[in-house]
Point group: C2
C-alpha cells in the first residue's frame, strides 16, 4: 500500500491552502475566522514534498520555521555518544516538528522524512508578528504546544516501563491513538519507521523489538508482519500498555506535612 498518495492534499497542480485544508481545525488556524485564516495562510510556505530520507532540518541549523506534517511522517533524532543517533520522536500527519528551536535559536535535534512527506513551514518571525495581532492564534499555538509536550510525556512513560513487552505495547497503543486523531484507520497501521527506529526510540536492542513484536502477535494481540500491524485485541493491548508492575503503590503517596 502506498501511503504517500493517500492524502487528498497531495494532488499535484492543486495548490493547498489553509482554508481548504482538512487539517485546519487541529492545526494553527484552529477556530480562526476566514479573514484571519487567509492572513495566516499568506505567510505559510509549502516546500516540495520530502523524499524518504531527506532532512527537514539539521542540528545547529538556525531555526527558521515551525513545521506541520501534512502527510507522511517525520523522525527527530539527537546525537548520542560516539556517532550514534537516538530517535526522540515521530511526527505524524497533523503534528508539529521543530519545537526544539521555538525561541528562534538553533535546532538541538535533526529531523528527516521516513517516507514521502509534505510539510507546511511557518516562519517563526512571521508567526511572532501574527500572534501579537491575533490572540486567537496565540491560544491555538499554545494548545498545540501543550499537545506536543503531552506527547513527550507519553514517550517518557513508555520508556520507564521496565519490560520490553510493555514498552512496545504502549508504543503501539499510543501510535494507534495518534493515527485515529490523524483520521487514519487506528487498527490497520502501516509503520513508517523501521525496527531500528522503534528500538532506539524505546531504548531497546533491535532484536528485542523484533522479538517482542512477534511475541505480541503470538499472543493474538496484534497481527504483525514487517511494517503492517493490525490490532486484534485492543483491550488486551491497552491492559499491557497501561500496566507497570508497581512494587510499592504507596511509595509516592506522600502526605502533606
Amino acid at each position: 500500500m502506498d501511503m504517500t498518495a493517500a492524502s487528498p492534499l497531495a494532488i499535484p497542480g492543486r495548490r493547498t491552502s489553509c482554508p481548504t485544508c482538512s487539517l485546519r481545525g487541529q492545526c494553527l488556524p484552529g477556530r480562526l475566522d476566514a479573514a484571519a485564516t487567509l492572513l495566516l495562510d499568506a505567510v505559510i510556505q509549502r516546500p516540495a514534498p520530502l523524499r524518504r530520507g531527506q532532512s527537514l532540518y539539521r542540528i545547529n541549523q538556525p531555526a527558521r520555521s515551525l513545521y506541520v506534517v501534512r502527510s507522511g511522517a517525520v523522525r527527530t533524532m539527537v546525537p548520542d555518544g560516539e556517532a550514534g543517533m537516538q530517535v526522540t520522536g515521530f511526527h505524524l500527519r497533523g503534528e508539529l516538528a521543530g519545537l526544539d528551536a521555538l525561541a528562534g535559536e538553533r535546532h538541538s535535534a535533526m529531523a528527516d522524512a521516513l517516507e514521502r512527506t509534505s510539510v507546511c513551514a511557518i516562519p517563526l518571525a512571521a508567526l511572532e508578528r501574527l500572534t501579537t495581532r491575533m490572540p486567537e492564534l496565540q491560544v491555538q499555538l499554545h494548545r498545540l504546544l501543550s499537545r506536543e509536550i503531552a506527547l513527550d510525556h507519553a514517550h517518557m512513560r513508555q520508556m520507564t516501563v521496565r519490560t520490553a513487552r510493555g514498552k512496545l505495547a504502549r508504543f503501539l497503543y499510543e501510535l494507534a491513538t495518534r493515527y485515529a486523531r490523524a483520521g487514519m484507520p487506528p487498527d490497520e497501521i502501516q509503520l513508517p519507521m523501521s525496527r531500528a527506529d522503534i528500538a532506539s526510540y524505546l531504548g531497546l536492542a533491535v532484536e528485542t523489538a523484533s522479538r517482542q513484536m512477534r511475541g505480541l502477535a503470538d499472543d493474538g494481540i496484534i497481527d504483525a508482519n514487517h511494517r503492517s500491524v493490525r490490532i486484534i485485541d485492543r483491550p488486551r493491548l491497552a491492559a499491557l500498555a497501561g500496566e507497570t508492575p508497581v512494587t510499592d503503590p504507596l511509595a509516592y503517596a506522600r502526605l502533606p506535612a
Copy 2:
C-alpha cells in the same frame, strides 16, 4: 544544610518583585525594560511558600497559571497503572512548571513540593493578554518553552541509556548542570528528591538506583551519602553520561534516495 532558607528572596517581610528578583534575566521578564517589567510584575501572584509535600496543582484541575520555581524544588508525576505514580520531572529554581496545560485546559499531571518551595504564579489569562501587547515577552516565553522541551528531551535520552549506571550518571550530570544555571554550587548537590523518586524518574527499581549510587561512589566518581552528593571526578561522570554503547553506528545513517 537547610536549603529553604538559602534564598535571599525568601526574606519574610520583604515583598519580592520582578524588578528586584535575581532570577529576572532567565525568567519571564528577560530583557524587558523597567516599565514593561512592572506591568508583568503586577499580574504575578506569589502564594505562600509550599511546605514539603504540598501540591501545586492536581490532575484534571483546570489550568489557571504557569509557575516559576523561585526556590526549592517541584516534582511532577502522572498516574501509572494501578494506583502508582510515575515521576516525569523535577523543577528547580528558575525553571517552569505547569506547561502541560499551557492551552488553558486541564492539567494532565500533578505537581508537589519536594521541600519548602516558593513559586511565582503567572495567570494564563493575564499572560495571554500581556504577550499580545509585548512582543518581547512572547519571545522570552517561547525561549523558556524551548528550554523546557529541551529538558524533556534530555530526560528521554537519560532513559534510553541501557545501563542503570549510565542513567544515573546522566541524571546527576544533568542535575549538576541545572544547579549551576540556578546559581548553586554544581559539585555539592543536596538532592531534594528521594531514591524512589529518582528510580521512578529513570525507570529503575529503587534498589538499583541505590546500588548504582554506591557504585559511582566506589569508583571514586562521586561522594554520596543519603541526599548529599559531591561530584569528585566530573570528567569521568561526563564520560559515563555521554556514552551509550552503540552497537551499530551506521544503523541510522540513512542516505537520501
